[in-house]
Symmetry: C2
Subunit: 283 residues, 2 copies
C-alpha cells in the first residue's frame, strides 16, 4: 500500500492543477484517474486563457505531462471505495490500494446521472451497497451499471440479496457475473412508483423492482462518495469557498461540485483546494 | 465616444478571459488596459494548468493575441473615472471616452496599497476628490500619486482647495502641476494622528496634513471604483458568487477581489463573470 500526504482522484484540469500546487507546496501527492472525462468530447477549446486553440485530448495530455514533469506519480486506476483508515483514508482502486491523509475529489461529472431515479432516492434508490444492501435483502433488487464500480458494488450485494438484476442501460458488461444474476441490457426509460420505487421500464419491458443501486459510475464515478456521507446538492458535491466538503480531510473541485463546467473554473478550484489542503496538512 | 455592450477594464488573465467568453457569447465587448500588472513580475509561471512553463510577459502577450484573434478591440489607456450614463456607464480614459451597459473590473492589485493610510479612511483619508474635496476646502491637504489618475483627481481638488501638496512617494511626476501646488517627492514613512489624520512623515520631514487623497492608482487603480460606492473589504472589491458587485451592471474579478492571487483563479473569475454578464445583457 502506497502512502501519501494527499491523493487526488481524477487527473483532468482540476486534479492536475491541485496536484501541481500541492507538489510545489512540498507535499507528497499522487494523481489517480481513469479517463480524460469531459475533455475527451472537446474537439477544440478556444476559451482557456493563454492557449488560443487546443483539443481536449491535447490539453489533457499537456496536463499529465506537466504533473509527470514535477515527478508526481500518475496512476491509471478506477477508484471504487474510500474508507476511514488509522491515519486518514484508505482508497481502493481496482488495481491499487492507497492511504492518504487527505483526499481531493476531482471527479468530473458523470455522463449518466440517472436524474430519472433521483426522486426515488431513499425510497428504493440507493448509491451505497454497503450502507443499504441489508434493507433490500428480501426484495427484487436492481443494480445499474456495467463497469468496475458496479462489479465492486455487486460483490457486496450478492452476499445479501438473492434476487438481483443487473441493468446495463444499453452498455456492454465489462465482466461476467455469476449465473444466478439476471442481466438486462436495454436502455432504461423510466423509474416508476407512487410512494416508493415499484418498477423500472426499459425500451421493451417493465420489471418489478423495489430496490435499486445506482453504480453506473461512468466518467465521474462520484457515486462512491455517498458512502462517506457527503453533503450533496443534486448530483454535485457541496463544498465551502475553500473547497472543503463536510468531511474533514476530503476536498472537492471541478465539475463534480457544479457551477461553471469549464476548464478555467476547474483549474482554479484545484489551485484553491491545494491551498487549503496544504494548510490542513501543516496542522 | 465608442459604445459597447461591455467594457472590460484590465487586460490581464481575468480581463482577457472575461472578454473572450463575452465575445463568444455574441456580445460587443472591448478590452482596455494600461500595463501587464502583476504578471510583469513573474519570471516563470509553472503552476498554470496546460502550460508547463511561461514567463508572465509571454503569458500576457498570448492573452492579448488571443483577444485580438477574436477581433476584440484591445485599447491601451488608463481609466480615470466611471460615471452613470443614460444607457449604462460612461467610462473615461486619459485618451478615450467609452459608454457601456456593463463594466467589468479586472484591475489586478495595486502595488501601493497605502495600508499605512487605511486606518485614517473617513477621518482624513479619502479616495474620491469629487466626493470629499469640499470637506477639506480650508485644510492643508495632500494628494498622493504621480500619474494620470492623480492628475485627474488634482484637477478636481485645485478648484476647491487652496493649500495642496502632492506627495509622489518617491516617484517622478508624469506632468507639470500649476505653480501654487507644493510637491514632495520623498517616500512616505507614516501617517500620523490620534483620532484623525494630523501629519504625514516622509524620509526626512513631517508635514502637517489634515486631508489626504489617495490617487496613486498604480497597477490596479481600483481607487476610482470608490467613487461609485462599491462595497469593499479592505482594498478588495466585494462580489457575490457570480462576480457581481453591489452596483447593478458592474462586475469584478481577479486579484482586485482578493482570494487566491493566482492566474488560474483570475481566469476562472473572468469566465464566471462573463456568464453572469451575458445573462444580465440578455434581460
Amino acid at each position: 500500500m502506497n502512502s501519501y500526504d494527499a491523493i487526488v482522484i481524477g487527473y483532468g484540469p482540476c486534479g492536475v492543477s491541485c496536484a501541481v500546487y500541492l507538489k510545489r507546496y512540498g507535499h507528497n501527492v499522487c494523481l489517480v484517474g481513469k479517463d480524460m472525462g469531459a475533455l475527451s468530447k472537446a474537439h477544440s477549446i478556444e476559451n482557456y486563457y493563454g492557449i488560443k486553440s487546443i483539443s481536449g485530448a491535447d490539453l489533457f495530455n499537456e496536463g499529465i505531462n506537466q504533473a509527470k514533469g514535477l515527478n508526481i506519480p500518475v496512476i491509471d486506476d478506477e477508484i471504487v471505495s474510500i474508507e476511514y483508515g488509522d491515519n486518514g483514508y484508505i482508497i481502493k482502486g481496482t488495481n491499487n490500494i492507497f492511504s492518504a491523509k487527505v483526499v481531493m475529489l476531482a471527479l468530473g461529472v458523470s455522463k449518466n446521472k440517472f436524474n430519472l431515479a433521483s426522486k426515488y432516492e431513499g425510497i428504493g434508490v440507493s448509491y451505497c451497497a454497503t450502507c443499504d444492501g441489508f434493507f433490500f435483502r428480501k426484495k427484487k433488487t436492481a443494480i445499474i451499471g456495467s463497469g468496475e464500480y458496479m462489479k465492486h458494488e455487486l460483490e457486496v450485494l450478492e452476499n445479501i440479496i438473492p434476487d438481483l438484476t443487473i441493468f446495463t442501460n444499453g452498455n456492454e458488461l465489462s465482466f461476467k457475473p455469476n449465473d444466478n444474476i439476471k442481466i438486462v441490457k436495454e436502455k432504461i426509460i423510466s423509474f416508476n412508483g407512487d410512494e416508493k420505487l415499484e418498477s423500472i421500464t426499459t425500451e421493451s419491458n417493465t420489471y418489478e423492482i423495489e430496490g435499486c443501486f445506482i453504480a453506473n459510475g461512468s466518467a465521474g464515478g462520484f457515486s462512491f462518495a455517498k458512502h462517506l456521507g457527503f453533503m450533496l446538492d443534486g448530483n454535485y458535491i457541496v463544498v465551502d469557498k475553500d473547497m472543503k466538503t463536510n468531511i474533514p480531510g476530503i476536498y472537492a473541485g471541478g465539475d463534480c461540485i457544479g457551477g461553471l463546467l469549464q476548464v478555467s473554473k476547474a483549474v482554479s478550484d484545484g489551485a484553491i483546494a491545494a491551498q487549503s489542503i496544504s494548510k490542513y496538512l501543516k496542522k
